[in-house]
Amino acid sequence: MAEVVLENICKTYGNSFRAIRDLNLEIADGEFLILVGPSGCGKSTALRMIAGLEDITSGHLSIGGRDVVDMAPKDRDIAMVFQSYALYPHMTVFENIGFSMRLAGKKKAERKKRVDEIARTLQLTELLDSKPANLSGGQRQRVAMGRAMVREPAAFLMDEPLSNLDAKLRVQMRAEIASLQRQLGVTTIYVTHDQVEAMTMGDRVAVMKGGILQQVDTPKRLYDAPVNAFVAGFIGSPSMNLFEADLSRGTLQTPGFSLQLPETVLAERPALRKYDGGKIVFGARPEDLYDSTLASGRSHQTVPAEVVSVEELGSEHVVHLRLDATPVDSGDPDAVEELGGLSNAVARFEPASAVSADSRIDLAVDCAKLHFFDPGTHLAIR
């Protein structure tokens, strides 16, 4: 077990493409850190640099206090679980798990003891003589985990290990990996593009975009206090609704509606006053927009909205709406796709809501829970 420290790590490819810029991260001993971001954000590159599979252009990297920049992957005391699992197809489960021990010259009896131990932990004992081709996705995933565990490494590196599994199995394996990590207490860096995985598995989450670390914090802090519009849009499903507005004497004005900000909001965010008389970006989480007919007892203001479509999920209704306001692109490609079509906002209504597609409603907005961002830099206004 060890702490992993990345200091000013940069990665530039031959064609001068800068995949990672000045990445600084300290991952504590035994911590479960999630690296998350959209495709091409540099999260896998960062992980591969920690593993030693990619050269580091500049910066320092230490694992357990040892500078490992110039070390080969095998000398870094890490184990990696690949997205494709990368199981050796011609070897049995036993041989796959024990391969690193065999390369290290460990005796057969020792190998057998250790592999059996791991197989018991991962419920693979019955499958030790099977080849990977005969295993299900979940079983292969467990073998990949076993191969990593057998080395008793200082850190586990996992590159989207659940992305090849179906939705149901993914939920199950998510819980299994999280519980296994707690049980082993090994420092773990886990890459994913799935923000649900990010929010549910890690102690802390590092959000990346365009090779730059945006924010690293606990899942709750990321959700409640995103540092910029990108993090706000990326974390949370459906994404936060972001709109442009004019701020004038504490009132947000869009082409189709206005919202008076409560005094508490202005008092909590003194920097907001600087934007008075100018443009601002405000954001509302889908759960902070609700059906005004069911909003009794909650402090809210209403804005007119057109219901484009309703997805009835049983536990809630995901309502796609059109508001007369200009949406703001957070920079998350998935969020743009999510909105698409005629709607420009998403709300989560209680299942008791009777709204239907193509109707006009009064949408309740909890103004105390709005988020504010600079229209130019997209940084949070606090």
Binding site: A51, G52, P73, K74, A86, L87, Y88, H90, S100, A104
Partner: protein
């Protein structure tokens, strides 16, 4: 209308079958003729009109070949040269293909183009230069002359075929070996080679066939009867005064047998290897 369509379809099917049968006849008849002639007496081969089936079924030609140490030596030479070239080709090509597939190095694209370009030269244009080289190195009429020359022709294709095959194997496997504590060498021999059997078999079969069938260089670069290979041996049966057609055909049958056996055994791998190497 429907009836007319059905009739038309039947006619098309009939025409297709006739065409296929004609094609089959065209391809198979020479092989049949070789087989039938090998069981005839030399006199019957010259009979007019020619006999489709041997009137006198005899193993005389086979006996003449299998009891003649000189002719058996042709087979030994062919096997030896083809086997050595195949083994060397696969080992060298695997190493080169692994380099091309897994590493980036200066001049990689140029080298790859150079390898392909060697395939565009008709072998006959290289005959005199090779002859000169082989003689000046004192290799004339030796196995080394044939092995080295054949390698020149088999390696480019083998490198290309195996590079294509290795490119279809995920790099994650090499990286998994690196993380597990192995070198690129370990990854190649312990993981990549065992899962590349289809590609290796396809390459081996191709190389073996090329060497087994080669005539021009074997004729030019060897001189003594002891060094001759099967294709030259068959040609040697055309004497100045007599043509031993039945023996030539029997030797052709015996010469084709190893290829047939290799094809039958390796067919599954050969096809899989060709597909895997070319599709992706």
């Amino acid at each position: 209308m429907a009836r007319r369509n059905t009739r038309r379809e039947k006619l098309i099917t009939l025409a297709l079958h006739v065409g296929l049968l004609a094609g089959l006849f065209f391809a198979a008849f020479p092989i049949y003729w070789m087989l039938a002639s090998s069981f005839k007496t030399n006199g019957e081969i010259f009979a007019l009109p020619p006999t489709i089936l041997p009137h006198v079924f005899t193993f005389e030609a086979y006996a003449a070949i299998l009891t003649d140490p000189v002719k058996l030596r042709f087979f030994f030479n062919s096997y030896l040269v083809a086997a050595v070239v195949t083994i060397l080709t696969v080992i060298i090509a695997l190493l080169a293909a692994y380099g091309f597939s897994r590493f980036n190095f200066r001049g990689k694209a140029a080298l790859s183009t150079l390898i392909i370009s060697t395939q565009t030269l008709p072998p006959i244009t290289l005959l005199i230069p090779f002859f000169g080289l082989v003689v000046s190195y004192g290799l004339f009429d030796t196995y080394a002359a044939l092995v080295l020359t054949y390698l020149v022709f088999t390696l480019p294709y083998a490198v290309l075929l195996l590079t294509g095959y290795l490119n279809t194997l995920p790099r994650d496997l090499d990286e998994a070996v690196a993380v597990d504590g192995g070198s690129s060498w370990t990854a190649l021999w312990r993981v990549i080679v065992p899962i590349s059997v289809p590609g290796i078999v396809a390459t081996s079969v191709y190389t073996f066939l090329l060497c087994w069938n080669e005539f021009l260089f074997a004729l030019t670069l060897t001189k003594s009867t002891d060094m001759r290979t099967v294709p030259i041996g068959i040609q040697l049966l055309m004497g100045q005064h007599a043509f031993e057609w039945n023996q030539m055909m029997a030797m052709s049958v015996l010469g084709s047998l190893p290829l047939l056996v290799i094809y039958l055994i390796a067919q599954r791998y050969f096809l899989a290897g060709m597909a895997a190497g070319s599709v992706k």
